[in-house]
Amino acid sequence: MAVLEGAVFAILLTCLLVIIRLYIVVKTGPNYKPGAKGPVAVLVVAGSGGHTTEILRLMESLSAAYTPRHYVIADTDRMSEEKICTFESSRHFDSESQVLCNGPGTCVPLCVAGLLLGILGMKKVLLVYVESICRVQTLSLTGKILYPLSDYFFVQWSSLRDKYPKSIFLGRIV
């Protein structure tokens, strides 16, 4: 009986520690300045069709300081793979990017993995989420999940900025 009680206590304590660590990880986002130390490595999650177009427009605007760039696409998404390869080869600076294939709907698990690295005290991974331009009044499910967890959460219409005060609104950015 004591063993069972001990096990339950251990589990509850671990959960509490994880929650506290998660809170700390999420709160320290604004203070983390990886750009001051050197190049900023980027992992880019490309959704299907239009989402890839949107994210490549954003990537186009980033300077050479953002390297290496790794892309994650769905293994069924040939079109995104081609768009990314065309985009990367048109950039003239040292292209150390990698395309990683994974199943669809990879965005949330990847972000959770990033948070886990922070929770375990191994590495701080900044989560930057840009909601699609087609979201005017409501967030996507991914957006709703990542809103409390992201370090920088961008929306592209003022109606969303009003509903989600923690979001960043710079007008249309794609």
Partner: protein
């Protein structure tokens, strides 16, 4: 030759393809002076044969690496409500009529079409109102669509991340 370009992006939208090639709709297009109809049908099951429509010059294909040229040559673009297709047509400065697929679940595409319509950047309708819209539409009310500014995103991120 006045041209209409129809695009469904990476989706399938058989109802639109069927509607736009129906006799009443072709008649409405002709009445407006359109003589050429180019269809990009994506994953749809309907792929009309070239010139299978009497009264109008018809071309149809599934995908191209880039539809930029077809958009450039069009006088009117009719599109599904996908963001990429809409932005590409609007970015090229073309008159855009968006046809909303009301059979899609949780049709969040409507949000953007509705907002851009409210801002007078495009017209929109459904398949059932397509013919009527083509008959009565006034393209002169459409306002130019200014491109998005990804540089604002880059500048913000540089500052936030301490990039030199």
């Amino acid at each position: 030759m006045k041209t209409v370009f129809v695009t469904v992006g990476t989706t399938s939208f058989d109802e639109l393809i069927e509607s736009i090639t129906s006799p009443e709709t072709v008649q409405a297009l002709k009445a407006r002076g359109y003589e050429r109809l180019v269809l990009q049908v994506g994953r749809g099951s309907l792929l009309p044969a070239a010139d299978s429509c009497p009264h109008i010059r018809l071309q149809a294909y599934r995908f191209k690496d880039s539809i930029a040229e077809d958009i450039k040559q069009a006088d009117l673009v009719i599109s599904h409500a996908g963001a990429g297709s809409c932005l590409e047509a609007l970015g090229a400065g073309k008159s855009l009529l968006v046809v909303v697929n009301d059979k899609l679940m949780n049709n969040h595409q409507l949000e953007m079409a509705r907002q851009l319509h409210m801002d007078s950047h495009l017209l929109y309708c459904t398949c059932s109102t397509l013919t009527q819209t083509l008959r009565t539409m006034d393209l002169s009310v459409l306002q130019p669509f200014l491109p998005g500014q990804p540089k604002n995103f880059a500048n913000f991120l540089d500052k936030a991340l301490g990039v030199q």
